[in-house]
């Protein structure tokens, strides 16, 4: 498909708080809200902006592992719980590990393109503080090939990306690489401090870079090449957004200026049973980005902001290279030079990303879309960045597993 055969929009985004360590209200010893609470809050948050469930034709919910985190499968069945007008409407649950959220977006976009729906309620949710991190690591390892689990690290995914970081250190130097990773972390927290729903919103550490430098990676207690600040958060949260056709916008009474148009979407799958061809490269992301930009008929230089999948700081660095902003090995420099900071050349993850805002695995893809919608329509509050007129585009890149499932989407404000 060279371009979308019908106009598709997104509007009425909503994020719950990302709950977990860092939030004052989080107490692992006390009972916390469950899946139902998050799905309901996010769903109703979006429905309120589009005239209620009666205007919705279809529901889609992205979720990775509620079956293990919460012993709950069959999540599509929770969509009619959000609003009684959703009862008996078609609903679907999507799963692609940490890209489950973006697959929910893709499912909605495809329904609108297929003209089987004009308004789709797309959600993403994960409630993962239901167990200690050491057991959560088992659950999240399901995003890799189970046959590799035995030889993998206790913290399986941090282990995978520690290996990527290790390969990058070996090729380009550890201190150099960590200067970029450190800045990635600093940006994430500084951005999260501007977003009230972010997990690190209340972070008051005065010297973030100093804190980062103090925490040398220690393979005895964690992984060899990353410290915990290099990692995304363990989060409970949900996000929701409406995916609409032009008719859908009209039905819901949403002006195009309040919506973003989906200019292109690329969905890429890499064989999960193969190791990455090169640990210093994110090949699936590279492919998805290329396809999405080509379909949109733009280049990376037309983008005003990007939400990238920084499950680990090294993934952030490698994504700047996959996007073509930096040549192989130069991504760390690009980030260290503050090019991806909110006032930099290409602001990334303006509300904190996975490291600062939080990473409710199956919800992240939808959260990224909500952030881009907020930024392009001027609804980002204190986190708002300036969107240059000559660079009106935004992009989301959601990744599942170790560069296995990738969805890249390009957006622009609906009336431009």
């Amino acid at each position: 498909m060279k371009k979308l055969r019908r106009k598709v929009y997104m509007a009425a985004g909503y994020n719950t708080v990302s709950l977990g360590t860092g939030r004052k209200e989080f107490n692992p010893k006390k009972e916390r809200p469950g899946l139902e609470h998050y799905i309901k809050e996010a769903g109703q948050g979006t429905l309120k902006q589009i005239g209620g469930g009666k205007n919705v034709d279809e529901g889609a919910i992205g979720n990775f592992m509620a079956s293990r985190f919460n012993k709950q499968g069959h999540l599509a069945g929770f969509i009619p719980m959000i609003d009684e007008d959703l009862q008996y409407k078609p609903c679907i649950r999507t799963e692609g590990a940490c890209a489950s959220g973006a697959l929910s977006l893709a499912s909605g976009i495809k329904s609108v393109l297929a003209e089987t729906a004009d308004v789709v309620l797309s959600l993403g949710v994960e409630v993962q503080n239901s167990m200690k991190a050491i057991y959560g690591a088992d659950v999240l390892a399901g995003a890799g090939w189970f046959k590799n689990r035995k030889s993998g690290h206790a913290f399986f995914f941090p282990g995978q990306f520690s290996d990527r970081a290790g390969a990058y250190y070996e090729k380009y130097g550890m201190e150099y690489a960590r200067s970029g990773m450190r800045q990635w972390f600093v940006n994430a927290i500084e951005n999260a401090r501007l977003c009230p729903t972010a997990q690190e919103y209340e972070n008051k550490v005065p010297d973030l870079a100093g804190l980062y430098d103090k925490m040398t990676p220690n393979g005895k207690s964690f992984v060899d090449n990353l410290n915990v600040l290099d990692c995304s958060k363990v989060s409970d949260a949900a996000s929701a957004i409406a995916i609409l056709s032009e008719e859908g916008l009209e039905r819901c009474g949403i002006p195009k200026s309040e919506a973003v148009e989906v200019i292109s979407i690329a969905q890429v799958e890499r064989n999960i049973t193969n190791d990455p061809p090169d640990r210093t490269e994110l090949t699936a992301i590279k492919k998805a980005v290329k396809q999405a930009l080509e379909m949109a008929g733009i280049t990376k230089d037309d983008l005003a902001t990007i939400e990238v999948h920084d499950c680990f700081s090294i993934a952030g660095i490698l994504t700047t290279e996959a996007l073509g902003f930096a040549k192989p090995g130069k991504g760390a420099q690009f980030v260290a030079d503050r090019n991806t900071a909110r006032d930099g050349k290409i602001p990334m993850n303006t509300t904190g990303g996975l490291i600062g805002w939080g990473h409710p695995t199956g919800g992240t893809g939808v959260h990224q879309a909500v952030t881009i919608w907020e930024q392009l329509t001027g609804k980002a509050g204190e986190a708002q960045i300036k969107i240059p007129k000559d660079r009106p585009y935004g992009m989301t890149i959601n990744m599942g597993g170790d560069d296995v499932t990738v969805v890249a989407i390009v957006y622009k404000r609906g009336d431009l």
Partner: protein
């Protein structure tokens, strides 16, 4: 017999007790780790948890399971390597469960002493009764062909009396954990002159593997920890008796408890500490120590009286504080037991009056917790607080200065009387075993 062989068969006497259960946990984990080493494959490791109470042993096994699971969760990275050849153990959860099983599988909870006849090492953590300890050691020694090492956790009985009484030929030493053993980093190691070098080396290696800090102490009743605590407590009691001539007993006790906690920036007041350890235990330790101290009288009529009235303190099985000299609500003292009226007197009725009498705390004052965990600023904070206290002439400041002077004196006495090798060891014991923010031998208060 090398280190691993020595630990192949061990018995803990009094395993269901407060100290015994902690010692059992640490030993079980150390033994399981040895059993999982490739060179020990196929060897059986056995840890007898011996106690007179079947009910206590049932509780012990539950405690063990919970604690071992926590330990396993913290060292899963290492456990994955240990179980690398077990194809059936894939996820962390399976590996953690297997480790918990492997540790529990070493432990044999029993009520019969005969199980100790095959052991190479005997840990003793029973009540502070010298005759009973001697009798058990003697019985095991006569029936055990392995010439086992006897490690006693006594905090007050001179070790040489056990050696002589049970005819152990120097195969006994003091290995004194602090409560709770699984958490407290300190072990007081009390060696005898006729201990073999091999036994002392083993004790040191064992403590090191348990990640404990060893402070050597000489074989004088009470050693360093109780040597200081008992005398410090007696000073507190004497101060209450002195002040009681001018004010009601309950108020005097409240004042000294507050001075020894707040004005001295300690984790708890002296009477709360006595309750924590147990009035009965403190009285008992003093009784055990006293005969070996010809020049002093380590004894308190007040404690005897309280003990007779059933005022004992100590802890409930869930770790909460039982009422004793003080009455507690959510761990905080709310009333003082008055032996005259045999009733608790509410602190709220006289608190304001007493606080006024004591005078204010220094302006720079911070509670013990804030000072002790202030990461690198502790020294400076203590200096500031106590410099200010030194300039104050209030009752609170004067009592604090006198209290600290006595604590200093006790610390120095422990060295001059040959209990401790030096003041640093005294300070280490009080700081690691009693969580004091600073040692008794200090120059803060004048």
């Amino acid at each position: 017999m090398n280190y691993d062989e020595r630990l192949q068969n061990v018995s803990v006497l009094g395993a269901a007790g407060k100290m015994g259960s902690g010692i059992l946990l640490l030993t079980a984990v150390e033994m399981a780790d040895l059993s999982l080493k490739p060179e020990n494959k196929g060897k059986t490791f056995c840890l007898n948890a011996i106690d007179v109470s079947p009910q206590g042993l049932a509780g012990l096994m539950k405690y063990l399971k919970v604690q071992v699971q926590k330990i396993a969760e913290k060292k899963t990275v290492m456990l994955r390597e240990i179980y690398a050849d077990r194809a059936d153990l894939i996820e962390n959860e399976c590996i953690i469960n297997e480790y918990v099983f492997d540790v529990m599988n070493i432990v044999r909870p029993v009520t019969t002493i005969e199980s100790a006849y095959d052991s190479n090492l005997i840990f003793e953590a029973i009540v502070e009764n010298r005759d009973l300890k001697t009798r058990l050691f003697s019985q095991i020694n006569e029936n055990n062909k392995n010439k086992p090492y006897f490690f006693t956790n006594t905090s007050s009985v001179p070790i040489h009396t056990l050696d002589e009484g049970a005819k152990l030929d120097g195969r006994v030493l003091g290995f004194h954990f602090y409560n709770p053993p699984a958490v407290q980093k300190l072990v007081e190691l009390i060696s005898l002159e006729n201990n073999s070098a091999e036994m002392t080396e083993f004790a040191k290696a064992f403590a090191k593997n348990l990640r404990k800090i060893i402070v050597p102490s000489n074989d004088k009743a009470g050693f360093i920890g109780n040597g200081h605590f008992m005398r410090d407590a007696l000073h507190g009691i004497h101060e209450v008796e002195r002040l009681s001539k001018e004010m009601p007993y309950a108020e005097a006790l409240y004042i000294i408890n507050k001075v020894s906690q707040d004005f001295l920036v300690r984790p708890m007041g002296i009477f709360q500490l006595i309750d924590y350890v147990g009035v009965d235990v403190v009285k008992f330790i003093m009784e055990v120590m006293n005969p070996y101290l010809p020049d002093e009288d380590l004894h308190s009529d007040l404690l005897d009286k309280l003990f007779e009235m059933g005022v004992k303190g100590g802890q409930n099985s869930n770790g909460s504080q039982k009422d004793g000299i003080l009455k507690y609500e959510r761990g905080n003292p709310v009333a003082v037991f008055d032996p005259e009226t045999k009733a608790y007197v509410d602190i709220s009725g006289f608190k304001e009056k007493c606080d006024e009498k004591l005078g204010p705390l220094p302006g720079s004052w911070k509670p013990w917790k804030a000072v002790n965990f202030s990461r690198g600023k502790k020294e400076e904070m203590l200096k500031t607080i106590f410099t200010e206290t030194n300039k104050m002439e209030t009752l609170g400041a004067e009592l604090a200065k006198a209290y600290n002077a006595k604590s200093n004196e006790i610390g120095n006495y422990l060295v001059s009387s040959g209990v401790a090798h030096n003041v640093e060891d005294v300070n280490t014991v009080m700081m690691t075993g009693f969580f004091h923010a600073y040692g008794p031998v200090n120059k803060y208060l004048k």
